[in-house]
Symmetry: C2
Subunit: 349 residues, 2 copies
């Protein structure tokens, strides 16, 4: 019997509405498996915690989370309670950094029956591999001068180590898929960092002669995700570009509420973290409107991560079948509630 | 009789295929008007110029361009000849900076008859106002250390002056439209610069109590351009975010080949520059595939800029009628050539 200890952080807003269902599903799958057990430790870190304690998590928060095998997170942020840069850097981004979750994997694919904004349903199936620890998300910089003279400086920092690591991950992944990697660049505008990014990409690609490559500027690539997503397989991107591309990937699937992500620690020193791509959506809290699919698909990524691909596959099939039958939330064209969608997936396992 | 002197830079690739037709159209409209005349001065600046002279334009290039009333540009860049950061910073970005073209205006709207990737044709009509002189496009930074230790640092620089100027432009524009401005931010991830951006936005918005505002993170906003573009009117964005959003705007219109832009000098000291959003597309050169609409719509923006809104309106109508009749290039679902589309627009004036 294997026991997986999960640190569960529903976080803010709809995080509280989508996490419990996903946990039920994980428990049910473990039961069906027989040789697997989950142990959940719940943490109330988030904006309400901040309002009470003046910080997003206690000082020993990371120590506690570190005892788990993985973190399972809902969503963080509520600008009506805490400014976004405080809440995110105090919790989500902090965990990514401190736990060296340097790779963020974000798939996007077509689901039968889901209303996509794209007209003719194109059969795309891509994965964004996002560098998750540095780049444009940096605390280096600051503000200076007053009033009309004020300036803000923000330094992006790119290291060869983390850049090539993300690219290697992408190339290896491509090897097990269609053998194609697209690099998101902007070397025509971002004068130092992106030519560096291109150079590293060229160098890493030499080690994978069997994988074909293209480089596209983030502006054109973003548009191309909309006009011809079926052209892409594995897309490797910086922290910011990966953030943007994975949301567009979610958008063309039909809703940002569907997309999952895995923040991977690949040196084995810390837990990885699994969270949907969507945010806390304070505007729809409490109305049963939250799409649970992003969180549930995230649970599938967690199962795959721990080697339970059979369970992960079963879960994905249950999601697909549920959506194909039209059981879905309004954001993707249905009229079922969060609970109804979750219950339907649970039944099909 | 007013004479408008245009400095014409076809630049690279399909720039040479779409600029001549747009100039014919401008001449024809001036003729029809009677009281207007264009004088064109052609410049061969671009990547071929670089291969011959080792720079994208001669030392006195800007001096020469400065004698014109406006610059009319095709596209710059051909990575097979010159690295992108060299070609762009040596020509396009140089002109934007040196001529203090601090505002970039980029409309996107639905055209009847054009194949859009979006299924149900939504009736969107939006304008991206892009800060065009600073932000993420900065030459501040560099590379350090060798081989596996190399790092690249890239500093974005945001000034109160240019930031608030772009926002004021957006608010004024919104006043003459639907009265709504959306700010593209990323204050949850970009720790210093984007909270600054938000603060300036809040401050500027106070001066325009009649305009309603929202702020959205660039990742969610990018997805939202795809899932519900009809929600937006004027969107104000940093240099990079404006670049990305305007390409997505072009994408949802059907093709990046349609979209126009105006790089405005608003202090009256230097010429403004008009260029389509698309690039030089070396892969389709010489095949009659280049969509001329972006360049021609750009000519409409030029006419509006010089106060000839009547001619601009007439030109837009000719574009709309041509597209509605299915006379268009393959990128948007037609089978006409660059020349056929141009000729059809010309006939309808
Ligand atoms: C060519 C490139 C430098 C340019 C930019 O990023 O500004 C282009 O993409 C644009 O949008 O005008
Ligand atoms: C909330 C925010 C900081 C975060 C990010 O930008 O990384 C989110 O958008 C995501 O994609 O996980």
């Amino acid at each position: 019997m294997e026991t997986i200890r999960l640190a569960v952080i529903p976080g803010d807003g709809i995080g509280h509405e989508v996490v419990p269902g996903a946990l039920k599903i994980l428990e049910r799958l473990a039961e069906l498996h027989g040789g697997l057990k989950f142990e959940f430790e719940h943490y109330d870190y988030g904006c309400d915690y901040y309002l009470e304690h003046g910080e997003m998590m206690p000082e020993d928060g990371l120590e506690k989370l570190k005892e788990s095998d993985a973190v399972f997170l809902g969503a963080v942020g509520d600008v009506n309670k805490v400014p976004d840069h405080i809440s995110l850097w105090g919790l989500l981004i902090k965990i990514r950094r401190e736990f060296q979750q340097e790779i963020n994997v974000r798939p996007a694919k077509v689901f039968d029956g889901v209303r996509s904004p794209l007209g003719s349903p194109k059969d795309f199936d891509l994965v964004v591999v996002r560098e998750n620890s540095e780049g444009e998300y940096s605390s280096v910089g600051g503000r200076m001068f007053h009033e009309e003279h004020e300036i803000a400086i923000q330094s992006s920092v790119f290291s060869k180590r983390a850049t090539s690591q993300a690219m290697e991950y992408a190339f290896n992944l491509a090897g097990s898929r269609s053998g194609m990697v697209t690099s998101a660049t902007k070397s025509n505008g971002i004068y130092h960092a992106m030519p560096f990014w291109d150079d590293v990409f060229k160098e890493v690609s030499m080690e994978y002669p069997e994988v074909s490559t293209t480089s596209e500027h983030i502006d054109a690539l973003s548009a191309s995700f909309v006009t011809r997503p079926e052209r892409y397989d594995v897309v490797v991107a910086s922290n910011l570009f990966g953030d943007i591309l994975s949301d567009i990937g979610a958008g063309i699937m039909g809703s940002i509420g569907i997309a999952p992500s895995a923040n991977l620690n690949i040196n084995g020193k810390y837990p990885s973290m699994f969270e949907p791509v969507h945010g806390s959506a304070p505007d729809i809290v409490g109305r049963g409107l939250a799409n649970p699919v992003g969180q549930i698909w995230t649970a599938k990524m967690l199962l795959d991560h721990f080697g339970y691909e059979d369970l992960g596959g079963r879960l994905l099939k249950a999601i697909e079948d549920t959506l194909r039958e039209g059981i879905m939330t309004p954001d993707i064209g249905g009229n079922s509630s969060t609970e109804e969608v979750t219950a339907s997936i649970l039944e099909r396992l």
